[in-house]
């Protein structure tokens, strides 16, 4: 009892082919939806994300000093820059750089430079070099592979690909800042 539309010819797309592909596709989506939780469990968990902001009182940091705090397991540098250092940062704006940036765009208030203290090369903590003890650019110097950052945290020499990252922060009052 063969009707016309049930005759199968070779290389013709049949209802059976469609059912194979459709079943396979639904199966693949199902498998992917089961695999995703197994992968996503590796991402930062809710309690890690909950610790994502911290408030800092800036009034206790004297001029010419840097304070290191821990935010999201990473060190944050808060540098109270001197007028001389700010001038040096602005003077360097037009120097050749790997990741060009103006000193004015590196800090909301020029005297408070707030950066993630992690070398953008392979994650070491750069050492303070504001007195030019280590590198030739007078900011921070990474002991691991010799990346040399200036007083605005801009990469000037060495293997690091980017300037030191800037965290998101907002001033709650004139002297209190919320990082994250």
């Amino acid at each position: 009892m063969t009707t016309k539309d049930q005759v199968e010819h070779e290389e013709e797309v049949t209802r059976r082919d469609f059912l194979y592909v459709a079943t396979g596709a639904v199966g693949a989506v199902g498998a992917a939806s089961v695999v995703w939780p197994l992968v996503d469990q590796m991402n930062p968990s809710a309690d890690v994300l909950a610790l994502a902001s911290v408030e800092v009182d800036l009034s206790t940091i004297p001029e010419g000093q840097t304070v290191k705090i821990l935010w999201r397991g990473k060190p944050i540098f808060i540098r109270h820059r001197t007028a001389k250092e700010i001038a040096r940062g602005i003077a360097g704006n037009n120097d050749p750089m790997v990741d060009p940036a103006n000193d004015q765009d590196r800090a909301v208030k020029p005297q408070w430079l707030i950066m993630v203290g992690i070398c953008t090369h392979l994650g070491c903590v750069p050492l303070e070099n504001t007195e030019f003890q280590l590198g030739e650019h007078g900011g921070w110097y990474c002991p691991c592979h010799g990346s040399d950052y200036d007083i605005a945290g801009r990469i000037r020499k060495g293997p690091a690909p980017r300037n030191l990252d800037l965290p998101e922060y907002t001033y709650l009052t004139d002297t209190t800042v919320k990082i994250g």
Partner: protein, 422 residues
């Protein structure tokens, strides 16, 4: 592990064998049922030594876990607790930490033996692949194991190595997403330690599985031998047991003496003193060095000025071993009959050792005091170029062009000829 001609005489053994033929499997794999070439030299001991070290690492590791806590607040103390308080804890931990180094020594010699005598060549390519897979798994396991004591080198080694994967930053934020996924946070922290612990416990058993495949793939063509020619007649082969079990055990007794010298007289020589300082995310040690067995690849990473290409070069330096069977176009396996190949093999070995030595140096340290001083970075670049040139230029050309020495017609013939001369 093919069919077995194992015929048990004991009735109870036969009863069991008829229901689970595992004794026959052992017999044909590591017993009298496996016929091996009669001319295997001591370089062929290192396969069984690697198997022994895997067993030592699993036994000591399972014991260490009974006293260890994988948490950032407790891991460092737990290791000191093992060292000071647990009965013989110092012995078990020193065996495990030095055992890891000795495992790599043995495996490196095993790989070099395969390179020199052409064991990677047809029909043993898949055997070679499985060996490389074991080596890659060992690298991952060793790295994660070094993180567990949660010392300064543990923490900063983990930070630098995981950051390598951030180089795959093909769109905005991709590198960072990969890192957050690896860490389970925004930096190396407790979630990282816990997942490394889980995987460090798992991977050795995965290695056991691949070792079984490795032995399976070995037994289809049979062992290669120093002459590199196929073993043909019965005159070319002898039973694995008792001949090679005895030879392996004799070699093992020497090896254990060396292992014991490290464990009892210089247990920390392979380690770094900074790892006896607890991890501190605010302070990077002045000089981060990986374990010695990664140093050549670390130098290649440092030699490339670009982050992404440095990482690619480092991975390529290991993955290139997978194509070695096709880079080498010679019809002859053993370097015994390929003098130019042998010469460049030794040069390659020396160069790789030098790459490892450079891995411990700072980039601007002066290595050669001439022409105003040549620093470690420059030497690292020269050595890295030679490393890749060996695979891409030297092996393909030399293997196809060199004039080789005459190869004996059979293993037994070469033994008879040697006896005539003697």
């Amino acid at each position: 592990m093919g069919s077995s001609n194992y015929q048990p005489t004991n009735k109870a053994v036969k009863w069991f064998e008829d229901r689970l033929p595992i004794l026959g499997l052992m017999h044909s794999t590591l017993g009298a049922g496996y016929l091996a070439p009669r001319n295997l030299n001591y370089w062929w001991n290192f396969g069984s030594l690697a198997g022994f070290m895997l067993l030592v690492q699993i036994i000591t590791g399972v014991i260490l876990v009974m006293h260890y806590t994988p948490h950032v607040d407790m891991a460092f103390r737990a290791v000191e607790h093992i060292m000071r308080d647990v009965n013989y804890g110092w012995l078990i931990r020193y065996t495990h930490s030095n055992g890891a180094s000795m495992f790599f020594v043995v495996v490196y010699i095993h790989i070099l033996r395969g390179m020199y005598f052409g064991s990677y060549k047809s029909p043993r390519e898949v055997l070679w692949f499985l060996g490389l897979v074991i080596y890659l798994l060992m690298m991952a396991t060793g790295f994660m194991g070094y993180v567990l004591p949660w010392g300064q080198m543990s923490f900063w080694g983990a930070t630098v190595i995981t950051n390598l994967f951030g180089a795959f930053d093909f769109y905005e934020g991709m590198g960072e997403s990969i890192l957050h996924l690896l860490w389970g946070g925004f930096a190396v922290d407790n979630p990282t330690l816990q997942r490394f612990f889980s995987l460090h416990y798992l991977l050795p058993f995965v290695i056991v599985g691949v070792v079984i495949l490795h032995i399976w793939a070995l037994h289809l063509p049979g062992s290669n031998n120093p002459l590199g020619i196929d073993a043909k007649g019965p005159g070319d082969k002898i039973p694995f047991h008792p001949y090679y079990t005895a030879k392996d055990l004799f070699g093992l007794s020497f090896f254990i003496v060396i292992l014991a010298i490290f464990i009892f007289y210089m247990p920390n020589i392979m380690g770094h003193p900074d790892n006896y300082i607890e991890a501190n995310p605010m302070l990077t040690p002045a000089h981060i060095v990986p374990e010695w067995y990664y140093l050549p690849f670390y130098t290649i990473l440092k030699a490339v000025p670009d982050k992404l290409f440095g990482v690619i070069a480092m991975f390529a330096s290991i993955l290139i071993f997978f194509v070695l069977p096709w880079l080498d176009g010679s019809k002859i396996r053993s370097a015994k009959f390929r003098p130019t190949t042998a010469f460049f093999f030794w040069l390659f070995l020396l160069n790789t050792l030098y790459l490892g030595y450079l891995g411990t140096k700072l980039p601007d340290e002066i290595m050669i005091d001439m022409a105003g001083g040549i620093d470690a970075l420059t030497m690292g670049r020269i050595s890295s170029v030679f490393y890749f040139a060996y695979f891409i230029v030297i092996v393909p050309l030399v293997s196809r062009m060199e004039s080789t020495k005459p190869v004996p017609t059979s293993i037994s013939q070469s033994v008879l000829d040697a006896n005539k001369k003697g």
